[in-house]
Amino acid sequence: MVARVCLRNPAPAVRVFGDEDLWVAYDATSGDTHLLDRVCLELFRLLSVSSATVDELRNSLLLNFPDDDPELIAQGIDAAIVRLERANLIVNEFN
């Protein structure tokens, strides 16, 4: 079975400032505030709609950015998932 990723808190507080590349998220469970980048934001938005596998996340972003290098996008997504996991903002759905 392929693991699905979801937001740990389904209604997190986020603040995005215009078209800046960085944004902040507040985790009410831990009280921590995180500074995150744009790729994390795109994943965050996708996951706020529904949980997804890593492949589904990659495919969604590839569809959104068809002109970009797929390999680059895949690497960016993998790194962003690690950042979101380290921030404890996403979890494996079956955890």
Binding site: R15, F17, E20, D21, L22, V24, Y26, A28, G31, T33
Partner: protein
């Protein structure tokens, strides 16, 4: 009646008896001390602050007095007390004024959770606040001292009190803390500034307090609308550089410099988010106070005209 309305001996007597109550809006402080030097400096530096009713409620009961024992006669130490309980390690008695200031900062930062208390200088012009958050050593107090001697109103050089409900900032208009070279720099910049006797060998080096402008103290009840957040960075010999600073990074810096961000939880997150959103955010590198005055005057004029 202001503190300056009391004679020097009356200030000393009131301090001795613990009946010197000063209105440092939005708080009142009851001060007690048996250290004569402190009476002199309070009379001088806090002269423009109104006295509060000594029979009424006071927010903080503060005492800086000689530590007891024989040591007092050999190498006297001062102790800080809040509500009769000792706090902090004792310091050499000649550092009593610095101890009082640091203690008052702690009283406000650790207990005033009706505000977001941010480690920042705040000055105002035209009703709008320029917030200068920064770690120690960035030159914010020196910058603050220069600006308030050139037409800006002092709210604070140390603690911005951000009212979450009204989204306005208060500042108490307390004396400006100067350290080391900044004492001479401010004295040269504004020879008429009233500065306390420098206190050497503190944990921050040599420190002194600049008396706040009377007009700022008179208006200390007036909050200001945050308009600019500027991260100052003193760099010797540099030309002035005012660059936009990403709001998300500004957010994180404000949260780090906020003494009670964690206590406010989600409300604190939203409040800092609103604060950053409504302000223009910059990083400012400088080496000359004249440059800073000119650039900030330009910011204020552009905001007014725009």
């Amino acid at each position: 009646l202001k503190v300056s309305g009391l004679s020097r001996s009356a200030v000393g007597d009131a301090l001795q008896s613990g009946s010197l109550c000063i209105d440092i809006h939005p708080f009142t402080f009851r001060l007690r001390s048996d250290i004569p030097l402190l009476a002199d400096e309070i009379a001088r530096i806090y002269g423009d602050f109104p006295l509060a009713d000594a029979t009424g409620f006071t927010d903080f009961h503060v005492e800086v007095s000689y530590a007891r024992g024989v040591r007092r006669w050999l190498r006297p130490l001062a102790r800080f007390f809040l509500d009769g309980l000792p706090s902090f390690v004792p310091l050499p008695a000649h550092q009593a004024l610095a101890m009082l200031e640091w203690g008052i900062n702690w009283c406000v930062a650790a207990h005033s959770h009706q505000y977001l208390v941010i480690h920042a200088a705040v000055v105002e012009r035209g009703g709008r606040a320029l917030i200068l958050p920064a770690p120690p050593g960035s030159g914010k107090s020196t910058l603050c001292a220069a600006l308030i001697n050139r037409g800006w109103r002092l709210l604070s050089d140390e603690l911005a009190l951000y009212d979450i409900g009204s989204r306005r900032v208060y500042g108490m208009a307390r004396p400006v803390n100067l350290k080391n070279q900044s004492i001479a720099i401010v004295h040269a910049h504004t020879p008429q500034a009233v500065i306390s006797a420098p206190v050497a060998d503190t944990s921050k080096g040599t420190v002194a307090l600049m008396k706040p402008p009377a007009a700022s103290v008179l208006r200390s009840r007036e909050p200001a609308l945050p308009a600019w957040i500027v991260l100052p960075r003193y760099q010797e010999g540099s030309e002035p550089l005012l660059d936009p600073h990403e709001k998300a990074r500004t957010f994180m810096l404000l949260a780090e410099q906020c003494f009670n961000y964690d206590i406010h939880g989600r409300a604190g997150f939203d409040a800092i988010g609103d604060l950053v959103e409504t302000c223009d955010c910059y990083q400012f590198t400088y080496s000359r106070l004249d440059d800073a005055e000119r650039i900030f005057a330009g910011l204020a004029a552009a905001g007014r005209d725009g």
